[in-house]
Symmetry: C2
Subunit: 346 residues, 2 copies
Amino acid sequence: MKGRKGVSIVDVAREAKVSAATVSRVVNNIDKVKPEVRQKVLDAIRDLGYSPNHAARALVKKRSNCIGIVVNNLHDPFFHDLIKGFEMSAQQTSYAVMFCSVLGGDVASKEQYVRYLTNGVVDAVILYGSYLSDKSVINYLKDTQDIDYVMIENDAEELNCNKLLIDNFGGAKKAVEYLLQKGHRKIAHICGNPNKKVSRERLDGYLEAMKNAGIEVDERYVQCTSTDYRSGYACANALFDLKQPPTAIFCSDDAIASFAVRAALDRGLRVPEDISVMGFDNQTILPDHYRGPDITSVNQPLYKIGMDSVKLLSERLNSDEEMELVRKIYQTEIVEKETVTECKVE
Amino acid sequence: MKGRKGVSIVDVAREAKVSAATVSRVVNNIDKVKPEVRQKVLDAIRDLGYSPNHAARALVKKRSNCIGIVVNNLHDPFFHDLIKGFEMSAQQTSYAVMFCSVLGGDVASKEQYVRYLTNGVVDAVILYGSYLSDKSVINYLKDTQDIDYVMIENDAEELNCNKLLIDNFGGAKKAVEYLLQKGHRKIAHICGNPNKKVSRERLDGYLEAMKNAGIEVDERYVQCTSTDYRSGYACANALFDLKQPPTAIFCSDDAIASFAVRAALDRGLRVPEDISVMGFDNQTILPDHYRGPDITSVNQPLYKIGMDSVKLLSERLNSDEEMELVRKIYQTEIVEKETVTECKVE
DNA sequence: CTCTGTTGTGCAAACGTTTACATTTATTTC
DNA sequence: GAAATAAATGTAAACGTTTGCACAACAGAG
């Protein structure tokens, strides 16, 4: 086990024949120090190749000037826009931003990361959409008043923290209204992983829109995938097998939609001529080299949310007075692409 | 400016009526402590909700048990596999892994991140392919013997550190040989950003393969993009405009290739029937909703490189004796897809 | 019952900073 | 030129850990 060695502030002080305090002052540009002394110190710093140790600094200042971000599968292209947002606003603040990723739903290491970060390594953390099952993470955060954090896309009641949310219910409702407006009446829904709140919200949006239109929903029109979006393929087939198959399918997300489209194409249905398909998330990047038409979808402003979250934290950290917690719901918008068309049958 | 408060080891010690040293011992499972005492301490820890402060710990131990990764545009889908590799092996070590991203070629903040990380926040850092122009980063690292690091895809001579490299020269050569074997003779090259070493290596591979085949390369057959891969579109058009247009184009990377294909399609050429196009990187994700055929490419084992780099560091950090620096060159392989076919003209 | 050894604990120094306060030095002001 | 004030620097404590060392308690051996 190797450790680090290095030149410390007192080495610089000795070299420049001043006290450590003075060196600290020039390093931090705080308090006046005489130009000639400052120069001596600067020279010593250069000669010795000194850089301040952040652990020590964080220890005494109780701040690290760093914001941590924890997400579930950083490699997932879903995060493309979100990351871009983080990067962008990181560049604009004085805070360093660091990403931690936990593979799959590995709750244990997620909690570990959060504990790690919240104890002296960052000043604030941003969490993306912790699964509902991440009770341990939530419980931990619940009791942690020490640190500022924002949750994106997770509205756990136990948590009173900043929350940036997406209007999944409204987005789904809008999507279905869009299909209705295209003349569709027989609209089915493929629901995502039912353990995720987001899936239920989108389902509810679907149901609401249908109810408002006065259409009774055959329960067979609602199919649920397992935890794997690939099962969207089977769900779609189940819908096509009905004697009264739908003319349009609203899917809980684009990944599922891509499999629904594939299922349609595989059994010789044309998309959108024979069946309209709509997704959610507006992902530009789809699983497995998807080659079908671009999927009409609902866009969520992830770039903006990414930007806003670090901006928000940076403002809070720099404010003297206690600030109110933010709870903001972002609206979505329909993105018309190639998988939806007017309903031709009546 | 708010700071953190929190319960410290001495609070626990007081509560459990033992010394701080003893608390430390139970927290770290080091040295024997009597079972009943341990239990008292554990209770106190639970009651007070204590977690150790990592800044203090890092300060005295001179280790943080964390590895930092710095890349240029984390959101770039190019990193998909690499990130996956990092995540995977992070899960298998006891090290926390944190990603830092700098937008574009922002050298200043890149150096800032590296300085930050190397001074008491991580035990080792992984850098991906610093541009050659990142002299300041390289100069900084050159003088930094304190910390272990690995460079991926950067062979700067000044640096003696662990290097994981890709055989760009060999990969390009292989690609061109593949085209030759398909009967192509008039093979052009669109070279990437000429400031990047990787572009030059791939160019050299192209030239070498052509030379070996005894084909003299018309200099107009080598087009260079600007720093923006979008200019691949113009380069391709320049090639098509020649009286003797090529039958195949080898592009420095897939992003460029996607624009070359687009240029071809836009002027009514069929790909690959009229013109074969080959890329490099095997990116599954292409810019701007690319809708052409899948691009035949050269794959580099980024997933493995990601895995190997954190494994390597973790081994080095845990080894007592001085280990030799690693310098490893990874081989590439041709991935046959849809943009190359036999040369039909003679 | 002393001696030696083991085992479990506590004391205090150290890690590299920052910063309130004390002290020195320089600059006014009268 | 002394007194008063301002400016620059130094002193030392503090931040929350870990760990070498000393010490106490207690065992087993003689």
